[in-house]
Structure formats: C-alpha cells, structure tokens
Amino acid sequence: MASKQETLTSERRHKTIASVVLSIICIIYVMPIVTVVINSFKKNTFVKTDTFALPNAETAAGWANFIKGMTFGNYPFMASVANSVIITVISTFLILFFCSMAAWYIARVNSKFCKVIYYLCIFSMVVPFQMVMFTLSKTADVLKLNTPFTIPIVYLGFGAGLAIFMFVGFVKSIPIEIEEAASIDGCGPVRTFFRVVLPMLKPTLISVGILEVMWVWNDYLLPYLVLDINKYRTIPIHIQYLKGSYGTVDLGATMALILLSIIPVIVFYLALQKYIIKGVAAGAVKG
C-alpha cells in the first residue's frame, strides 16, 4: 500500500517537473512574439532601452508606429501586402494543384522514372537553399521569373519536395479499388482525379496548404534575391527597408509591421489547424 502511494507521489512529482520544464520552453518560444507585440506599441527610443518592459504612459506610442510603418518611405506598404498576397496565393495554389497530381501518378505507377522523381523530391528537401540561391537568382532573372506573378514557379520548385512527400504518403493509403470503381462508373483519369481522388485528399491539401502559406508568406531571402526590389517588395522586404536617410532604423515601426504581417498567418493557421492533425494522422492508418 505504502509503495503504491510512493509510486503515485513520484508520478505526480515527475508530472510537475515536466509541466514546469515545458512551460519554460513554451515561454521561450512565445517570448519573441510577445516582445514584438510589446515593442510595437512603444516609442522608438524606448525599444532599445526598455525592450522587455510593458509600455507605460511615458513609453507608449499608441498607433503611431503602425501609421508610421505603413506610410514610411517611398514604397507603399499596401503594394507590398498585395505582392505578398499574390505570391502566397498563386504559389500555394500551384504547389497544391501540381504536387497532388504528381503525387497521385508517382504513388500509382511503379516505374523507375517515378522512383527517380520521388527520390529527387525527397532530395530537394535536404539541399539547403543557400547552396542554390546564387545560381537560382541568375536563372530566375534570365527566365523572367522576377515578378510576383512568375516567382510562384520558383516556389513551386522549392515547395514540391515536401508537398509530394506528404501527398504520396496519403495517396498510398487510399484503397485502389475506389479508383477502379470510378473507372468502371465512367471516369477517365482526369475525372477520377478531380471527382474522386482530390476530394479524398482534402485533409492533406489543407495541411500542406497551411505549411506552404506560412513558408511563402514569411519568406524573405528568396524574393529578396529574385524580385526586382525597386519594383516589387513583399512584406518582409518592406520591413527590411524601413530605414531613415542615414540608415537609422525605426524599431517601433518595424515591430508594428512585423506584428501586422504575422496576424494573417496566425489567423489562417488557427482557423485550419485542426485539419493539420487530421492530415498528419490520415496517412498513418489505412482507413
């Protein structure tokens, strides 16, 4: 009896320790975002001096940082937002559309060609972007992929690895009989894909979609290298260029724009995050 109680106490102690450790880790993760939120409402001079203090009567700047950030410089902030939206929407659409189709083909056809393509996709995930970025920026220039409407093709290439990997995993878990039934019912390959396979891929489409949106929306380096910065800026680039005439940076305005830029992606994630869990689990068990 005593030993049972001891075990219970020890279990409780372990749980408490785990809770404390995990809470600390959680705080460490959230801290940068909290810092951004706090400082976006502070005057510029106090961002450096009282970085972690909450805004008070003396330090608070109200909405001034937001207004300044959005009106600063000679490139309109709304144009950057529009560019980010265009690039994110088109890139995500292209990745979901083409990668789901490619994954279906790869999963259902057992040829050497498909195997090579599949392993190339996997390989593309382990190659760091920095390895290819300079050759890429030159190639993108030559091929005129340096506008918000064409850069999604570059994103399609970089996003295909993870997307195809996830889609293939899920397609393999779909019983082939469903597609055979569709072919007998009157579907050709295209109809089978759009009317039968694609609807079944919905959880994975949402999971991959969330991951791609977060990546493309927040990406700084690729558009910075590829886009013609004087003509087209995305939000991360716009924030980078919040500099005064002598190179001084208004940190308050920077924080305000960072906050504005992460709000859409957080809302998007929260709205669809339950499907991420479904999507990840969906491929695990044959259902």
């Binding site: 083909y105 999963a107 259902r108 056809v109 057992n110 040829s111 393999k172 019983p175 082939i176 009989e177 469903i178 597609e179 055979e180 039934a181 569709a182 072919s183 007998i184 019912d185 009157g186 579907c187 050709g188 390959p189 109809r191 089978t192 009317r195 039968v196 609807p199 079944m200 919905k202």
Partner: protein, 399 residues
C-alpha cells in the same frame, strides 16, 4: 443483360513487380508469386486457356481457393486487368481493348469501394451523372434501387456512418442503378460476419429475380457458389477444373479436387482397388467389397476402365452407420460434433479421417447426446453414391 464469351483467355504476370493495370498502365502492388502457378517464358501464368460462354441473364459463379485466378478473370472481364491472350466478347463485341467505362458493366468490390466524401445518394447517382442522365431520372432510379435494397433511410448519410452490411448494399445499389449489361461481383460478402452473409446471400437471390442482367460472381465460399449460381466454374491454379450446374458438380465431380471442394463437410476419400469379376466392376475398401450401381457400371464399361488402384469418394451424408449390412467398414470415433439435428462423427478408418453425418432422430435415445471417443462403429454405403477417381490423374473414371 448480355451474353459474355471468353475464348482462350490467358493472363501472364511478368516476373517483375508492378503489373496490375491502372489508368497509367501499371500499378504499385504486384500480385504475389504463387508457387503452384505455372512458370512460362513471359512470367507466371495466372489464368490458363479460360473458355466459357455465359448466356444472357445467367448467374455464373467463379469459385476456387485463394490464388486460383478467379478474381483475375473477373478483373479481365471488367477491364481492370489486361488480357494477355484470348478474346473477350460482351454482347458479341470484342472488348479486349475497350476501357472499363465503355464496357457497360458494373462491379461490386469486396471492400465496397464507396466514395467516402459522397453521401449514399451521391454514391449511387455518380455513375448516372457521369452519363449525363437527367436529374429527375437519376432521382427516380436511385430511389428505386434504394427501396429494393432497403437503404432509403440512409440516402443522406456518408458511408462512414453505415455498417458493413449497409455499405455493401450501397455498393450493390451503385452497381444496379445503371442497369448494366453485366454485373460483376468480387467476393462481395467476404467482409461480412456469418449471419449477415447469410442474410445478404438471400438478398442477392431476391435481387437477381428483380433485375434483368447477367451476373458473374466470384467467391471462395462453396456454399455461396452452390446457392447462387446457375452454373459454377471451379478453378484451381489458374485452370478451370469443371463447369456445371451445382447439382452436376455435386453429383458428378470431374476430379478429386472438385469432389473435395464442393460439399460441406467435404467428401471422404479411401484408397481402394477396382476389380472386374466378369463384366461386373467391384471396389474393395479394406475388407469390404462394394458393387457400383448399374449406371456406373455402364459408364465405366463404356470408358473401358481397367482394374486398377483407385481413390473412392463418398459424401458424409451418403454413409450409413449400421452393424447390419453385408459389407461393413469399421472405425473408431475421434471426434463427435453435436450439430443439433445431426451429429458429425469423425472416424479413424483405415488410417484416414472419415466424416459421417448421422441424423439424431435416427439414433437410439442414449446415442443422441453424442458418441464416446474411441468407440468402435461400423458403416456402409450404397454402390450408387460412390465416386471413383484415378490414382494418377485424379480424374473421375466415369467421365
């Protein structure tokens, strides 16, 4: 409704992986190599020289053990599997290279294969929508099929909210709603429990009377084959063993395999000796000698069968337990299975396990509870119900 004709159909799976036909030509999971299948130059011969003419509105059952090629044959008829050689005709038209959707067939799969994102109504309406049938006709046909199958109340549910039996009804509904020329069924009841299977079997018999179409049904369950089929095709290792009505297969099995496959419990086999006394054939089993019936004598004589070692087959229901007969075979009770109206006795006789079905009402009061293990019993059987098979080729000597 249509006639289906299979002429010299063969299927060879190449020895490399990935042969099953898909839209794109190939599919991932290649069938496993079956050791009993014939190896030929191109690979493994899964179906060998399959010939069958199926009449309009006939119910044909392909039956056999796992890996015998019955599903492969069905899939070739469906167009899901490429025909290596031979010709397939549906309604007189050569179908070898016609896409599944253009064959005017419907298929019910073992795993139901319902579209999970569609409701029952949408599932059933799907093939009609693809054929641009007007909406009011689609609704009418779906309602009709649903009422035949008793699934009207589930029409607006998704498949995941249905039980196995209900899902299979939906799958059948989706197939019949199109009024196809040929309805193919690939082990449709295998995923159901025993009770539901019996119920669905009866439903299929009823369904068959209500819809005018040709059925090709694949199963490994001989009870389903016997109860459903107008004719049964028994297959083994890719080769057709016998084609006939259930009664023909039961009464006149072509070989030892068919004899053992059809009938529950399966036929008993003894090592025996066929002798000839003048013009009269006799069979000696142990110390007992049996004389085949006149009809059998004639058939054996007509085929010019010579005295030889044979395998004698006798069905459990044709064996009579008795002490009072001129020719008796004895054995000891190994197992006594009480089935209610009958007892299945497993006897050790001449080194073989012999099953005898004894009706409990024919037994004395003290025996009705079962037999004691190790008890000695004797039995006999008539010359009209014995089957004689050659020792070498295992073929029925009468045919």
């Amino acid at each position: 409704m249509a006639e289906v004709s299979l002429k010299h159909i063969e299927k060879i799976y190449p020895n490399i992986e990935g042969e099953k036909k898909h839209f794109f030509g190939k599919k991932k999971d290649a069938p496993k190599k079956k050791s009993n299948l014939k190896q030929v130059d191109g690979g493994v011969l899964a179906v060998e020289d399959f010939n069958l003419d199926i009449a309009d509105r006939e119910f044909i059952v392909l039956v056999g053990p796992s890996g015998c090629g019955k599903s492969t044959t069905l899939r070739m008829v469906a167009g899901l599997e490429e025909i290596t050689s031979g010709e397939l005709y549906i309604d007189g038209k050569l179908m070898n290279d016609v896409a599944p959707k253009d064959r005017d067939i419907a298929m019910v799969f073992q795993s139901y294969a319902l579209y999970p994102h569609m409701t029952v109504r949408e599932n059933m309406a799907f093939p009609l929508k693809l054929r641009n049938v007007p909406k009011d006709q689609i609704d009418k046909k779906v309602e009709e099929a649903a009422s035949i199958l008793g699934i009207t109340e589930y029409l607006d549910r998704k498949p995941k909210a249905l039980s196995g039996g209900q899902r299979q009804r939906v799958a059948i509904g989706r197939a019949i709603v199109r009024e196809p020329k040929v309805l193919l069924m690939d082990e449709p009841l295998s995923n159901l429990d025993a009770k539901l299977r019996n119920q669905m079997r009866a439903e299929i018999i009823k369904l068959r009377q209500r819809i005018d179409t040709t059925f090709i049904y694949v199963t490994h369950d001989q009870t389903e084959a016997m109860t459903l089929g107008d004719r049964i095709v028994i297959m083994r290792d890719g080769v057709v063993q016998q084609v006939g009505t259930p009664q023909e297969l039961f009464d006149h099995p072509a070989n030892l395999f068919v004899a053992g496959f059809i009938g529950v419990p399966q036929m008993n086999f003894f090592d025996a000796k066929l002798t000839k006394d003048g013009d009269i054939y006799k069979v000696k089993v142990g110390d007992a000698t049996f004389v085949p019936s006149e009809a059998k004598q004639k058939r054996l004589a007509a085929k010019g069968v010579t005295p030889q070692d044979v395998t004698l087959g006798i069905r459990p229901e044709h064996v009579t337990l008795t002490d009072d007969a001129p020719e008796l075979v004895t054995g000891t009770v190994d197992v006594s299975e009480m089935m209610g109206s009958s007892i299945h006795l497993h006897l050790n006789t001449l080194g073989k396990d012999v099953i005898v079905i004894v009706q409990t009402q024919d037994l004395k009061e003290e025996k009705r509870g079962g037999f004691k293990l190790g008890e000695k019993v004797s039995f006999t059987f008539g010359g009209d119900v014995i089957h004689l098979f050659g020792k070498d080729d295992e073929k029925n000597l009468e045919f």
